[in-house]
Amino acid sequence: MTTQQFLLSAWGWNPVVIGVCVAAVATYGFRYRRQNGYFLAAIVLFYLTLASPVGALANGYLFSAHMLQHLLLLLVVPALALLGLPELKKDSGVRVPPLAGWLGGLSAMWIWHERTLCNAATTTTSVRVIQIISLIALGLMFWWPVIGPQTERRLPPLLGVVYLFSSCVGCTILGILITFAPVGVVCPVYLHPVDRLGILPLLRENWGFTPAFDQQAGGLMMWVPACGIYISGVIALLARWYRAGETSVAAPEPEPVFPPPRTTRGNA
């Protein structure tokens, strides 16, 4: 099989996935008046992650494709979905404590790369469905305190930076461990894929995805671009912070809100 044939043929048309996507878009369309493109983008990306050739490769062939899928489902799709939601009042909807969100986001990465679970999620459909649902749910939990729809309850921007950066450290460590682990230690099922589509020679020889390269690329994906996602979040938070700062300083306050300056400042 050539690359072109593979890219054209390896699309999945799973009715359940299509049904979920259509239902999500329909619910969103009926439920909310004010809409933006983010939610639609999230659904399209969700569909592409599972049904495009990336999904086919992740399904037992390439660890790196699995990692790409993992990151998109955990970090990108939920973030886009949350950005698509209209603003909620403080008291409505669920409340996610930041610590829970942080632990949820990180544990999704660490637990699903435990050897047995990683293998099971690739070979058993039921585990795989649980994995996909848990990634989306934990991803929503993770992003909720930072970009959730309850704007008043979001973390203060500088704490948000700490939240995202510490997550970046957590995923970097996992990425490093995967990158430098002996080949096949992390998720042995990808060492000798069952070649259902007849593309293994294409991947191994034409694309150069040897098992070692594959595992390294997967680990590096979690190490480098994943942190890029967190850092983009940091930049967005800071941009919002500085923008908010400029307006609030410019708006005249009705009366002085602080006592006159002290003459000297103690420091004990």
């Binding site: 390269f213 590096l220 480098v224 850092i231 930049i235 300056p261």
Partner: protein, 736 residues
């Protein structure tokens, strides 16, 4: 320089008032400590400079034998270590020490005595490093001390040991200083100065201090491992027993790449102060300059492998790190435009300070561009370990940071001394420095492209090499002369320089709102803050915005402990990482399953976890102002902690009885290091708790004012949390 500051009557060290001559040793005033930093770094700058000149003399002509290879190795090692740890970093910290409290309208640093400690650790660390010369030879394994070269098998002198100890001493001081700086900036800003309104120098120092707090523990942990290797014959980085010398490179550059930004961010801050003042315009894009700095700082932890392209990490690693290294250049590159657009259309006054700033921008662009070429892995393979690298990082650190410090010195000297540095000598010095610097290092690009290796004590007489090296040596001496001229300028201007007055440059940040030099208490009255340029607003009240409320001002003791805990957390992260890395595959010899009794450990683990509960009860009693339960719960905590230590001691004893020591194999090396350091932290915690207990019994807590219990409680919870992680990594799977 000390003579020009106001004589001290210090509230922290009353004896300093009487002592007179000893006052500059006993001082805790941030301004005098800042000057101590700057004087010390200037001294070490001369030392490192002389080392560089000797190297340049040796390289002036081909096949020279002025110094032998052994001495040459010591020279470049000491030159690099001195310039990085004893000149660039502490000089930037010195400037920050003097000016950050002034710029935020504070009376002093948050912890003045800790500040003094940081300085003295630096000085004695520096002396310790140089003591190695008397103790059998300076370190000679390069400033990054690559293993296995720095292991005792290949470096048998005590040089590397002194290198490690000196860096540890300085590292502790630097982290303490950074914590102090973070807490100062967070808690002591003048009313109305929100974190969005601080001067850019302050912001850069803030981010820089966070970088130090996160990155220095990586260095400290790695050199501790190297020290254990060298002194206790452990196997972290010795390949013969299964250790990985490459791991040292990873660990070192985990620190080393953020270090590059540690050495350049405050310089960015200085440029961002100098350029607007002498262009009479506010900085172009404050938000971008400040925000992108955060991005650079965080990204700097994700690109270190580009220092290791030549190692052979694999094609995948090279690809990813090439991409990320190019990405980090973007936010840095855009800053250049911020500075240029700040000057664009301004009414520029070409003072010496601004001339240095402009030279900084140009030379930093050269250093930045040559840096981007290294992001392309194949070019890196060709150029690594040649003079092209030497040229690159000197353009960043000398042409960049040092020129920025010159701009800062000419800008701020009037504030520190009350007199303006002579502009005439200053301009002569500027031109000599520009010619000398570019003469020395520009040609090294070409030498590097022609293949001349760095760290080699001499070279063959190939066409062009002799001439280019001679140009470089002549340039180096011009550079040395320009530094002497700076010294003369300082000495002359201190006596005869023009009186500065409060605000000679008509600048607008708070340090110019007080006299030059500032009085002991810094300000008689801090002006009201309306925006980023308080003095401008004072002069133009019609355009000033309404003042805002101070946004965020945490309690200083708690903040400092949290920052300290974060730093400690990174230290443990390195040790934990080493344990996981070396133990996820089966190795010959004893391992966790065969040598540890997890059930017994579980018992004393429970004791430690229970102590977290008891100290929480003690804190609750403190909050409810009930003395007796507070004391009793604290005693319970100490007893439970002691049980843990005894349990761990008996575990160690059992292992030692069976002949398992730190030198047995990699499991033992990593196990003893990780649990040992944790045990050490428990012991320190116990000591602190005992001190608190004694103070309680002596009646210090009668009024329930001291916060020590809560602060040390935080530390104690942290120690427990670390143990939960350690336990689940080492022991948990033995129980399941």
């Amino acid at each position: 320089m000390n003579g020009t500051t106001v004589s001290t009557a210090d509230e922290y060290m009353p004896m300093a008032k009487e002592a007179g001559a000893i006052s500059c040793v006993a001082t805790v005033d941030h301004k005098r400590i800042g000057i101590l930093y700057l004087v010390t770094t200037f001294f070490f700058f001369l030392v490192g400079g002389v080392e560089a000149l000797v190297m340049r003399l040796q390289l002036a002509v081909p096949r020279n034998h002025l110094v032998g290879p052994g001495v040459f190795n010591q020279l470049f090692t000491m030159h690099g270590t001195t310039m990085i740890f004893l000149v660039v970093m502490p000089a930037l910290i010195g400037f920050a020490n003097y000016f950050v409290p002034l710029m935020i309208g504070a009376r002093d640093m948050a912890f003045p005595r800790l500040n003094a400690m940081s300085y003295w650790l630096l000085l004695f660390g520096g002396l310790l490093l140089h003591f190695s010369v008397l103790a059998g030879g300076a370190p000679a394994a390069g400033w990054f001390s690559y293993t296995p070269l720095s292991e005792s098998a290949y470096s048998s002198t005590q040089g590397p040991d002194y290198w490690i100890l000196a860096l540890l001493v300085m590292g502790v001081g630097t982290v303490a200083g950074a914590i102090n700086m973070i807490v100062t900036i967070l808690t002591l800003r003048a009313p109305g100065m929100t974190m969005r309104l601080v001067p850019l120098f302050v912001w850069m120092v803030f981010i820089n201090s966070i970088l130090i707090v996160l990155a220095m523990p990586a260095l400290n942990a790695s050199i501790v491992m190297l020290l254990i290797d060298r002194q206790l014959e452990a196997h972290f980085f010795t390949a013969l027993q299964g250790g990985a010398p490459i791991l040292w490179q990873h660990f070192f550059w985990t620190f080393g790449h953020p270090e590059v930004y540690i050495m350049v961010l405050p310089a960015f801050g200085m440029i961002s102060e100098v350029v607007p003042v002498f262009s009479r315009k506010p900085i172009f894009g404050y938000g971008f300059v400040a925000g992108s700095t955060v991005a650079i700082a965080l990204l700097s932890f994700g690109v270190w492998a580009h220092h290791m392209f030549a190692v052979g990490l694999g094609r995948a690693s090279d690809l990813f790190f090439a991409a990320s290294s190019m990405a980090i250049a973007v936010p840095t590159g855009i800053k250049i435009f911020n500075w240029v657009f700040t000057m664009w259309g301004g009414s520029i006054r070409f003072t010496t300070s601004l001339m240095f700033a402009v030279a900084f921008i140009l030379q930093f662009v050269v250093g930045g561009l040559s840096g981007i070429t290294f992001a392309v892995a194949p070019i890196d393979w060709q150029m690594t370990d040649t003079y092209y690298v030497v040229a690159h990082f000197h353009y960043v650190l000398f042409g960049g940071t040092l020129f920025a410090m010159m701009a800062g010195l000419y800008y701020w000297f009037p504030k520190m001394s009350g007199r303006i540095l002579s502009e005439k000598i200053g301009k002569a010095q500027f031109w000599l420095m520009v010619i000398g610097f570019n003469g020395t290092f520009m040609v090294q690009h070409f030498l590097g492209i022609m293949g001349m290796p760095r760290r080699a004590f001499t070279y063959p007489d190939l066409p062009g090499w002799g001439a280019l090296n001679m140009i470089s040596t002549v340039g180096a001496f011009i550079l040395g002369f320009s530094v002497l001229l700076l010294g003369c300028n300082i000495v002359w201007s201190l006596r005869r320089g023009t009186q500065a007055g409060d605000n000679p440059w008509n600048a607008w940040t708070l340090e110019w709102a007080t006299s030059s030099p500032p009085p002991e208490e810094n300000f008689e009255r801090v002006p009201e803050i309306h925006g980023r340029r308080p003095l401008w607003d004072l002069a133009h009240p019609e355009t000033a915005r309404a003042p805002v409320k101070t946004d965020f001002c945490p309690e200083k003791n708690k903040t400092s402990m949290i920052v300290f805990i974060v730093s400690e957390g990174f230290f443990f992260l390195m040790l934990i990482f080493a344990y996981i890395y070396y133990n996820y595959t089966q190795k010959p010899g004893p391992d966790a399953a065969s040598s540890l009794d997890a059930r017994k450990t579980l018992l004393f683990t429970c004791s430690l976890l229970a102590s977290s509960f008891t100290i929480w009860r003690s804190e609750t009693a403190f909050k409810r102002r009930r003395h007796k339960p507070m004391v009793l719960w604290l005693i319970a905590t100490i007893v439970l902690g002691a049980i843990f230590i005894i349990g761990q001691g008996s575990e160690y004893w059992g292992l030692l009885q069976r002949g398992i020591t730190i030198r047995t194999n990699l499991f033992a090396t990593t196990f003893f290091t990780l649990t040992g350091f944790h045990g050490l932290h428990v012991c320190i915690g116990l000591m602190l708790l005992t001190i608190v207990l004694v103070l309680m019994l002596l009646g210090d807590f009668k009024n329930f004012r001291p916060r020590a219990l809560q602060i040390i409680g935080l530390y104690w919870h942290f120690v427990d949390a670390v143990w939960i992680v350690v336990f689940s990594i080492i022991y948990l799977k033995l129980l399941l």
